[in-house]
Symmetry: C2
Subunit: 393 residues, 2 copies
């Protein structure tokens, strides 16, 4: 591990990730000089000086960093820092939140992470490039679980990465959906990547490490302390193109993630539910509170929202002969509703695309003519063609 | 019946209600002179001249009007015209839609009604003054039926009139809810007020005629022709302060009523539902399409929306000693959630008000101190006081 990387680990050991003074010191002087200044007590903030002094009384930051680096290698984990080409550039957007009051429990928004630990083989930047956060309640209802799994599956089928936490309920359902469709999926943890929390999700974490990535800004062995979940949430909001809330009780942590996504200029998407369900109160609250938030009823709506933004950020070059360019909105929506594998009948198509049956019956012949859809015994399926997936990931 | 009223009936017999040329003739020259001109063929529009000529070949408009007037009296029904103080002033807002393309099936928006037939004893203007339209699908799910009945009941409990059509499903559920709470409720029909359609709702229509009003712009005996339902919808949108959509399939007639409510400057409110339900597709579509539309999860949200507007339109004078004036938004919302009759425990209160339990526990002591709430064995109930209902209706 480079001295720079070791200095970043040491800084995280001296002050909890998210500390602005440390972040700006690193931005101005680099990690090595920033560590020197912190160790020399050369910081204006007396509270930070005091907490650093307390940490120094308990141990040596450089030795702790060396130990964490060894531990990382021993686990087969890796460290990624802003000096690496694999660092996700979107995380720097968190700088915009500097000085902003946070929504609750934490007084102020927190600084971007100093470094990230990873478990899993995928390249971080590539995996996050086209990614959507799926967040929601731990106490999901069967309805919420079903919708989260469908969204996870549908996003993965279309080459989008799911990003979530590691909790029971919506987080786990979204990951399972994505893994079922071949992933990748990313769990951002509030503890070390070697420390499954909750323990009941251990098998899921192992599957995610194989078919995606476990990510944390705390070193291996770090405990899932309560405030770390809120700190962690900002990474989920910042690393993705947009966030989808599936189910949330009134004023839950997940609604806070959506609020932060909006503050970062991301798309905040909300799946509604029955008004008779306490688990949808937070979702409806959000849609009422933020006029910029978007109601989404499924993957076609989500792709409509993030697809637009994804293209703004990184235009995908396309040959002029792509028949998809000739589709109107309804036909495009319909085509997005067809899974990469398997077939659907017209009613299933209508339901998945969220359009009525007449529209399906009117548009399907056009899609057949353009060679995009084929009729099979089991219903309509995507026509075999050059794999589109490769363009997307 | 006055000659003016008879002229209006004759005009409606000569040309289907909603015809702009007839409406503007009446506005400029009065009903009697407008009828003379139409009978003399003095109209520029050749299509209207031709259809009037065809009607004249089939009968005498003045005799038809006399017959309709007698029929009306015989039934115990009444006619209301813009010359009466009981005419609802909001209907004139439909003039604003002149020349606007309509949303579907009809090419253009239609003119305000020329006159209205009523069955039931309530004064029309008073009943509509504080009214909310509740519209939705005929093929309602049990979820939609439950929500529509709850909304009908909750609005009636708080002195608001429900306005809807006469169809099965959401229309009927909203009326039943309102009647159960003591009404009044108003059904606007696409046929004569003596002609129950659908026949299966006959008993409901009789109850509405007793506890509210049946309203139609077609004379007794008129048949429920298909285009009349869309013509009728504009009265529902225009006569009310706002419209609530409970359940609708993709692009249904009910979503069109909401679009027209928005065009008229009314509040368009939408109850979301499970995204897995085809009967909520239209509701979600609407929330996505119109950023001005408002998601509502129940009566407290509806009152929040229309209450504001209702106060803008007609400020309710209040003594300075009303303790309600001292409530913050959350306490007011909570108080609105308490039914006029019966009691609720804190969890039911939280669910109905759409706030979390902690808020209820924090605000309830304040409401008790102000003498607005009392604790009973069955839970919290409104404190006995001067009836508030009288101020509202």
């Amino acid at each position: 591990m480079t001295p720079t990387a070791l200095a970043r680990i040491a800084l995280g050991w001296l002050a909890e990730p998210g500390t602005w003074t440390v972040y700006w010191l690193v931005r101005r002087h680099g990690p090595l000089a920033a560590l020197e200044r912190l160790l020399a007590g050369e910081v204006a903030d007396p509270a930070l000086r005091a907490s650093v002094a307390a940490r120094l009384a308990a141990g040596d930051p450089r030795a702790a960093a060396e130990a964490a680096a060894e531990h990382t290698v021993r686990l087969g984990a890796r460290l990624v820092t802003p000096e690496d080409p694999d660092w996700p550039p979107r995380l720097a957007d968190l700088e915009r939140l500097w000085g902003r009051p946070a929504q609750r429990r934490v007084d102020r928004e927190l600084a971007p992470p100093l470094c990230l630990w990873l478990r899993g083989g995928w390249p971080l930047h590539d995996v996050l490039d086209r990614s959507v956060a799926v967040v929601g309640s731990r106490a999901a209802t069967p309805y919420g679980s079903h919708v989260a799994a469908e969204i996870g599956c549908g996003l993965a089928e279309r080459g989008w990465t799911v990003v979530s936490g590691g909790a029971f309920g919506i987080d786990a359902d979204a990951h399972r959906g994505a893994l079922g469709a071949g992933g990748p999926t990313v769990a951002v943890l509030a503890c070390g990547v070697d420390r499954p929390y909750p323990v009941g999700n251990t098998a899921l974490f192992d599957r995610i490490a194989e078919g995606g990535l476990l990510v944390s800004e705390w070193p291996p062995g770090a405990a899932p302390l309560r405030p770390r979940f809120l700190t962690r949430n900002r990474v989920i909001a910042a690393a993705t193109v947009g966030s989808v809330l599936v189910e949330a009780a009134a004023r839950s942590g997940a609604t806070q993630t959506l609020g932060r996504a909006l503050a970062l200029g991301r798309t905040a998407m909300v799946v509604p539910g029955p008004v008779t369900s306490a688990m949808s109160v937070g979702a409806h609250e959000l849609l009422r509170k933020y006029p910029e938030s978007r109601l989404v009823a499924g993957v076609p709506h989500i792709l409509e929202e993030v697809g637009r933004i994804g293209e703004d950020l990184a235009p995908v070059p396309r040959g002029p002969d792509d028949p998809r360019d000739r589709l109107d909105d309804e036909a495009a929506l319909l085509l997005e509703a067809v899974p990469l594998r398997g077939a659907l009948d017209v009613e299933q198509l209508a339901a998945r695309a969220g359009v009525d049956l007449r529209t399906v019956l009117r548009k399907v012949p056009l899609l057949e003519d353009l060679g995009l859809l084929v009729r099979t015994d089991a219903g309509y399926a995507l026509a075999p063609r050059r794999p589109r997936r490769a363009d997307l990931t």
